[in-house]
């Protein structure tokens, strides 16, 4: 699995570097223009504010690189290539999850370094971008990446997974369910069974979406206010009562639960549709 991730990172490293370049130079250029006109943000000079926010840009750009990687791997049917390599289905599933997450994990120390640099330059850190906030943002972005991958698997459930195969687990290499799994004569019973399969596939997929919805709700309760910076700093929403470390741990736990859910779906999935 690690070899697959390492190779993936080697191949996609240009995406990460491009995302960092675009994600930092773009906003900085905009703030240079604002600084030229003497604009202030929260009492900060625009350029100073941009420099203080640089760690967040780096982290965000790393996550964007993760999404680009997910999209590229999906559009180029990478799993089909990887599935032919002598690797277990668990390794394949984990590698899919770890590769985009690794982009954020690589971005995290870089953004911490940028935060240290910004602090050294300005004397004081931006109040909303301490190291703990960066950790929470990283956890939150990791969760969003995992939710994206889980959504991909849930979508595949309806189209390519027979509910019997899904519930029973991989049947390869062992006898199926005896007379019950034998084909029925053509005609009405077979068509009825087919309708059941389609309905069951839809039900499985819908259940999957409910699981994802529950995970998103949990994340909203736990961490959104402090990790997305959508809400003003200091607003108390969520069960963590403003403790960012608790919030980070809870968000990370949710990301791990989501990843486990995705791995379970992937391992029972048919990789080609008829």
């Amino acid at each position: 699995m690690w070899r697959l991730v390492r190779e993936g990172l080697r191949i996609h490293r240009r995406v990460l570097l491009s995302a960092w370049t675009t994600g930092t130079l773009g906003p900085l250029s905009a703030f240079v223009v604002l600084a030229h006109f003497g604009v202030k943000i929260d009492g900060w000079q625009a350029l100073a504010w941009a420099a203080a926010a640089l760690p967040a840009y780096l982290l965000g750009a790393s996550a964007v690189a993760g999404w680009i990687t997910i999209g590229t791997e999906l559009s180029e049917h990478r799993v089909r290539l990887h599935a032919l390599l002598p690797l277990s289905s668990g390794d394949l599933a984990l590698a899919q999850l770890v590769l985009p997450s690794a982009m954020v994990l690589i971005g995290l120390p870089v953004s911490h370094a940028a935060a240290v640099l910004a602090r050294a330059m300005h004397g004081t850190p931006a109040p909303w971008l301490g190291h703990t906030t960066l950790n929470l943002m990283a956890a939150h972005l990791l969760l969003l990446l995992q939710l994206t991958l889980a959504a991909k698997e849930v979508t595949a459930l309806r189209d390519t997974v027979s509910w019997k195969a899904w519930i029973a687990g991989p049947a390869t290499g062992r006898r199926g369910g005896g007379s019950e799994s034998r084909p029925q004569p053509d005609g009405e019973p077979a068509r009825g069974r087919e309708r059941d399969e389609i309905k069951a596939g839809t039900v499985l997929s819908t259940l999957g979406w409910f699981v994802l919805f529950a995970l998103v709700c949990a994340e909203i309760v736990i961490g959104v206010p402090y990790s997305t910076l959508i809400f003003p700093p200091g607003l108390r929403i969520g069960v963590h009562n403003g403790n960012l470390a608790v919030c980070t741990a809870a968000t990370s736990a949710l990301a791990i639960v989501t990843a486990a859910f995705t791995v379970t779906l992937f391992r029972r999935r048919t990789l080609i549709a008829r």
Binding site: I11, E76, D91, G173, R193
Partner: protein
């Protein structure tokens, strides 16, 4: 494991909405080529996917070289070389980089052999995959499948999109693969001219079911198109797969020409004429499921 079949499918079934494959019972011995023939949507790719571990069947058992392919461990896949409809190569990377990627995972991979095959197929190693023509991507898929000299080759329409010269080169390479008698090829196609050169046996598949499995020579020897004159009424002809009559002129396609001819002589048929059929004609007749037409 010596002596074990390259693969063995027993009662394998896979259901998709609107389509059921199987139950399929199929075996392939090392050193042989099995042509898997069927129209689009008949389940060829799904069968191949079951063997390659890309499709999880609902029922049945699969063995590859005597081992049950366990998805929890992937070592058994090292014996397989697969050319599938969808390849999954890194499109923004060169052919060489894609081959190097594979070399890091496939035991027994020879970059030298891969380069030699690429040379034979005139495949540009330095070109990005996204800039390759459809035919060149097919060539890359073949090189990728052959680079580690797998014992079982699973080929799904491998020559689709290739020009006749390269197609011939591909078939030559596949012949060479078979030379040591240990390798087996499962060749799914509807280009029958390819298969008739390579295959020892043919399996015909329609609507997810195997219609017939037969040796290639037995097919070409046994199947005949026979015409004769015998009264203005339908005749129950032995071994007839297809029957047509226009007044007293009868025409049958028989899967046992000798038996049919003997019966017609006994019945006193006149102006009997027979001709051998090509593999293409035989395949079309089998996959059409035969017919009975009478006029006048």
């Amino acid at each position: 494991m010596s002596g074990a079949p390259a693969f063995a499918l027993t009662g394998v079934e896979k259901r998709f909405p609107g389509f059921t494959l199987g139950p399929i019972d199929l075996e392939l011995e090392p050193g042989t080529v099995l042509g898997f023939v069927g129209p689009n949507g008949s389940g060829k790719s799904t069968t191949l996917g079951c063997i390659a571990g890309l499709v999880v069947p609902e029922a049945g058992s699969i063995e590859v070289f005597g081992r049950r392919p366990d998805p929890r461990e992937g070592a058994w896949k090292a014996d397989l070389g697969v050319v599938a409809e969808t390849h999954g190569f890194y499109m923004n990377r060169s052919v060489e980089e894609n081959l190097r990627f594979l070399s890091r995972f496939l035991p027994g991979w020879s970059q030298e052999r891969a380069r030699r095959l690429a040379g034979r197929f005139a495949l540009p190693l330095d070109k990005q995959v996204r800039h390759l023509s459809k035919g060149n991507v097919a060539k890359l898929a073949l090189v990728a499948a052959l680079g580690h000299t797998p014992r079982l080759l699973l080929l799904d329409e491998p020559t689709a999109g290739l020009d006749p010269v390269v197609r011939s080169e591909v078939l030559d390479v596949l012949w060479e693969v078979l030379e040591d008698g240990e390798h087996a090829i499962f060749y799914s196609t509807h280009i029958l001219s390819d298969i008739s050169r390579l295959a020892d046996e043919l399996v015909f598949l329609r609507d997810g079911r195997i219609l017939l499995r037969s040796g290639k020579d037995a097919l070409t020897d046994g199947w005949r198109r026979i015409s004769f004159r015998l009264g203005e009424r339908d005749v129950a002809v032995a071994a007839a797969v297809e029957y047509r009559r226009v007044r007293a002129e009868h025409q049958v396609v028989s899967d046992d020409g000798e038996a049919t001819l003997a019966q017609l002589r006994e019945l006193g048929a006149e102006a009997i004429e027979q001709s051998r059929m090509t593999i293409d004609e035989i395949a079309v007749t089998i996959l059409k499921g035969g017919s009975h037409v009478a006029v006048g």
